[in-house]
Every structure is written in C-alpha cells, then in structure tokens.
C-alpha cells in the first residue's frame, strides 16, 4: 500500500513538472501561434545550466535562481533574432526553424558538456527521506512538488490578476484586437516567449537532481509537453495541470510494474483520451 502511495506521490511530482512544461509551451504556442519544437531543448539547457552554475557558484539555491533566467535570456535572443521574422511565414517554415534550432541546441549540449549523461545530487538539506506517516518519501521530490505548485500558482496569479497578464490572455484570444488597442504586440510576443522559456528552464533545473543530465532529455520532454498541451488546451492553466498530473501518475504507476512501458504509457494514455474525447480534456479546439 505504501508502495503504491509513494508511486502516486512520484507521479504528482513529475506531473507538476510536466504541467510547468505544458504551461510554458502553451503560452508560447498560444500567443505567438507557432509550433515550438525547441521547447524540449530549452528544458534540457535549464538542467545543464543549473548543474554548471551550481558548480561555479557553489550554491544550489542561487543556481536555481540564475539558471532559468539564463534560459529566459536565451529565449529572448531566439525570439528577437529569429522567430520575430517568421510571423508572416506558414507553420511549415516556423516548424522547420524551431526544429533546426532544437537540433542546434541539443548538439551544442553534446559539444559543450559531452555525450555521456551524469547524475547530480540535491543540496544537503534536501537529501534523504521524510516520514509522511504512511511512507518514507525523498525530501527533494516533496520540494519539487511544492516548488512546481508555487510556480504554477504564481503564473496563474500573473495571468489572472495583473494587467499584463490580462493582456496576454487577450493576446491568446485575439491578437488583432490587442494590437488595435495600442498595445505593443511585438513586445508581448517577446515577453511571452521569454516567460515560456523561463518555465521550461526551471522545470529542467528542478529535474536535474532527480533524473540527472543526459543529452536526450530534451527531445523526450518535448513530446510530453505536446501531450500536455494537446490534452489540456492552449492557454488553459487548469487543463495543463490536469493533463500533467494524469500522465505523471499513470506513468509512475505503470513504471512500478512494467518499467519498459513507462514512456510509451504517456502517449498511450493520450491516444486513449483522444479516442474518447477528440477535443481534449476540456473541449477546447
């Protein structure tokens, strides 16, 4: 019983990370209206940035603050130098561009950090387990659950309660109207891409002490982020959380009994949900 409970907790922790990925992708895809195939690479770079900056600075917490900001700055540059010129091009060329970018970024990871993966330990204070009464559970994963939950909540606060957040939501609904109201839509696009990159980066940074580093982590996460958005709906916060948790928990439970299927199950669950509800969890096309 406690084993199943621990697996469900694992699923919630990874599911929250999936939700963060989906949320960032959904902001980028919803506002800029582009397929962002570089989202997984941004996640991987977040993880690598965390480990490298933690080694340089010597403090995990500062690194956790700095690494995602680095990814956001990278996102800023990518949007400003490349994607900005492609809004008039079709999805096919936008896709080719972000896919090319993903290839460049993942190969650069191998060039800079090497092709072999490595593991990374969480900070001293978060090592070991905590007694939850029904099971012992790793402290770091509890921290990830709380941190990811807070980040999702902060994103919600920003989108729902601030003026700029309202502009962003309006941008997802109707870009033309937003620009007609005299709002700098180019600026909005840049901010949205940087914010999405930040969320991908921090999801990567939080993942590093759990899964370690490896160059394949980007492409793997890209598919999962797509699943979250396809099921949850663009710009739908609740949808992202629900989809993230569903596939996270399903994956953790299947992995406990049939390790080989632990990745396939994510996509199989998606296929089954789409069979029953082609329009996704909350019916948004």
């Amino acid at each position: 019983m406690s084993f199943v409970a621990a697996q469900i907790l694992n699923g919630i922790a990874t599911g929250m990370l999936y939700a963060l990925m989906g949320l960032g992708l959904s902001l980028i895809t919803g506002i800029l209206n582009i397929p962002n195939f570089a989202h997984g690479a941004l996640f991987a770079i977040g993880a690598y940035f965390l480990v490298s900056s933690a080694l340089i600075i010597g403090n995990f917490w500062v690194a956790l603050l700095v690494a995602p900001i680095g990814v956001a700055i990278l996102g800023l540059v990518i949007e400003y130098a490349g994607i900005r010129r492609l809004y008039a091009a079709g999805h096919d060329y936008q896709l080719l561009f972000t896919f090319g970018l993903a290839l460049i970024l993942s190969e650069s990871i191998i060039l800079i950090w090497g092709p072999v993966g490595s593991s990374y330990l969480p900070p001293e204070i978060l090592r070991g387990g905590a007694d939850l009464g029904f099971t012992m559970y790793p402290k770091y994963r509890l921290f990830v659950m709380v941190a990811a939950g807070l980040l999702v909540f902060a994103t919600w606060l920003f989108l729902e309660k601030t003026r700029y957040g309202a502009i962003m939501r309006a941008g997802i609904e109707n870009k033309e109207m937003v620009s007609l109201l005299g709002i700098d839509i180019k600026m909005l696009f840049t901010v949205a891409f940087a914010l999405g990159a930040y969320l991908a980066g921090i999801a990567g940074a939080l993942t590093a002490p759990i899964r370690g580093l490896n160059p394949g982590m980007g492409p793997d996460m890209l598919g999962i982020a797509f699943v979250v958005v396809a099921l949850g709906g663009l710009g739908n916060l609740l949808g992202a959380i629900a989809a993230g948790l569903i596939i996270g928990v399903a994956q953790a439970l299947v992995a406990a009994y049939w390790t080989e299927a632990s990745t396939v199950v994510i996509y199989a669950v998606m296929a089954v949900i789409l069979l029953v509800r082609p329009q996704g969890l909350f019916g948004i096309r």
Partner: protein, 308 residues
Amino acid sequence: MKKPIILILAAVLLLPFLVRPAIASEIWLFAIFGLGANLLLGYTGLLSFGQATFFGSAAYIAGWMMKVHGINAFLALAAGVGVGAASAAVVGYLCVQRSGLYFIMLTFALNQLFYFTAYQWTSITGGEDGMPGVPRPVLLGIDFKDPLVYYAFVSLLFLISLYLMRRIVESPLGKILQAIRENEVRAEAVGYDVPRFKLLAFVIGGAFSGLAGVLYAMLFGIVPLESIGFVFSGNVIFATLIGGSGSLYGPVIGSFVFIWLSESMSTVWARWPLLLGVAFVLVVMFLRGGVVEAWTRFWSWRSSKQRT
C-alpha cells in the same frame, strides 16, 4: 510538363555514375518518402510531423517478416505498403479531428509513441542497436545484392510511384484535397466529408512512406532506430519544403538536396546534425519557397532576357 520527366529519366540513368550506387538508391527511395509527405503537406495542407511513424513501422514489420519468417521480398514490399497505410490510418484517425497547431503536435506525439515502442521492444527491434539481417530480394536468378541491380530496382519503383502520385494529384480526389488545402470551410460547405478525405490522404501518404521504408531496410540490410524517430520526420519535411511543396517534383529535388547535404556533412563532422540544424534555419531565413520556385524564377528571368 515534358521537361521534368526527361530530366528525371536522365538523372536516373546518370546518377549511379556520379555517386555511389547506395547513395543513388537512397536518393530515389527518400524521394518516394517525400512524395507521400508532400501529398499531405503540399496538396492537402496538412503539416504532419510524424511521417517516420509509417516509414519505420513498415521497415520493422516487413524486415522482421523477411528475416524471421523468410517470406518473399516482394510480398514483404507489399506488406510494407500495407503496414504504412494501416499505421497512417490509426494516426490519421486520431489527428484529423484537430486542426492547426494541435494537429502538428499530435502527429509528433504519436510518432513518439511508435518510437518508444520500437525502442523498448528490444526482443524484436533490437532497440537502440537496430534490427540487422534484412535480406534483399532474388528474382529469376538475378541477385539484388549487386548494388547496381538494386539501384535499378529502386529507381523503377520510384518511377512507378511518381507516375501513381501524378495520377492521384490530377484525379478528382487530388482536386478535392487541394480544395481542402485552399479553403477547408468551403470544401465542407460544398458537401465534402473533409475529415474522411484528410484520412484518405494520410493513408495514401502512409502507403508511399511504407514502400520507402522497406526499400531503405533492404538497402542497408538493417532497420536503424532512427528510421522511426522524429528527426527522420523532420528531414522529410525539410526535403519537401526545400524542393518546393507546391509542386509534384518538389520532393524529388528536395531529396537530392537533402541526401547530398547529409552525406557530405556526415563525413565532415560527427556532430553534423548541428550543421543540418543551421541549414534548416538558413533555408527558412533566406530560401522560403524552395528550389523549384528559385528555379522557375531563374528561367523566367532568363527567357525575359532572351526576348529583348
């Protein structure tokens, strides 16, 4: 209309003298793959980022039937076409109900489903090492192990595929698909069952991909895991776009450019996908419209010069 066909026939005859027969074969089989992708992308306006699903599934299943059950290679080719079409029917069924960016993401996610299945099902697929031991056909005492004989076989199948695809895009079905590309709502309003036609385009495109997949497995004697991976799906989109997705011959030219590019890059540097990524970005930045458009622009510029 006649000129491209003469050019292609000349290329088929000359190519094995210019490059290694294996590369020449790879160009034509990749062109078959591109023809299938272009029916979706160029003619129906569906951007599928999962074409490797059909290519790889056909290669694995047909290869496995030949290797383990020793079935006739020509039967295996037919089986590959069938597997390509069937897997495309499954993927298409789940995807055509959504549109735009959702559609693209779903084709990619389902590609991952097939990829990870192949990756984990090591007892059959060999996982990361790929599935070796795929034989080449023997017909009437002619051994296809000879690279030139195999080249002739692949280019013949390519010419047949090209002919078939031309018939398809010029048929009423092809016109309906183009109508869907131009204006989906209007096609629906005129009374066409749009999702069903999209699915049909998927199945036909999948059949072409399946044929290409089996030819690929026979060419190299192995089904590598990459053949079902999303990078392969991206490559065929690149080839289609650089050739020019608006034209029947676009993916043929694109296949030339892509295979030549990747072959020459892979000999230069182990991290050649980085160069490929740079090529993708450069094409998007500077060569939108593809080679065919640049070529027609060049010809109209030339003929206008000759007239004066």
